[in-house]
Symmetry: C2
Subunit: 129 residues, 2 copies
């Protein structure tokens, strides 16, 4: 199949597929006579793996590490588990940050619930502090 079909089947845009290839995430494939990229079922599986990882917000470098690990089936998978664990820690931390931000924003919001003039705006006054 050509890149357009792979794009539809995988849900990645054509540019994204080419981008992954350039990043070394996604193997450069065979080309047709007219220099079109030609993919098969295994390309689709590989791309879906990448997409799955991206949906977990893993970085491209992390995904590369995973792919690298996958190529050594007899090695220990502890690096994979560690990566996921560390990622969970990061996400938890980020959530805490955003919760705090949300609190600040709600305090801001309640400083000026009604419609005032700019010079009397409670929000702007808080921002000046």
């Amino acid at each position: 199949m050509k890149i357009g079909e792979l794009s539809k089947k995988s849900g990645c845009s054509i540019q994204t597929i080419r981008f992954y290839e350039k990043q070394g995430l996604f193997e450069a494939c065979n080309r047709s006579e007219g220099n079109y990229r030609i993919y098969d079922a295994s390309s689709l599986r590989a791309l879906r793996f990448i997409k799955q990882c991206r949906s977990l917000d893993l970085t491209i470098i992390e995904i590369k590490q995973l792919l690298d690990t996958k190529n050594n089936p007899d090695k220990s998978c502890s690096s994979v588990n560690n990566l996921i664990h560390q990622h969970m820690v990061d996400v938890t931390h980020r959530i805490a940050e955003l919760e705090e931000l949300k609190l600040t924003l709600s305090e801001m919001a309640s400083a000026c619930t009604d419609d005032r003039k700019v010079k009397e705006c409670g929000v702007l006054q808080l921002l000046e502090e």
Copy 2:
């Protein structure tokens, strides 16, 4: 004062201050004979306002809008309140997304708690799906 002093007093790096100026957030100031930027107390106030907004994760464009609004003291401040409100909605939404991600990650993590071989790794198997 020169940019180094402003940087220390504001907590913004020198490059960031120049960056804000280039973005039109922070007024280009007077220059000394030797072409050094010269600031005063009002520059510091303005920069602190920007920093406060950035700590709320407002974008540079949003801050520009706020500054623009501030220059019209007699207009209604509803746009300010709306901006903060919308921002809170966005943050709430993002928290929900991250909570879901966290759940997925924790399911992943529990798929392979022990130290296995790569080909038996529960995490990698889930990622293949």
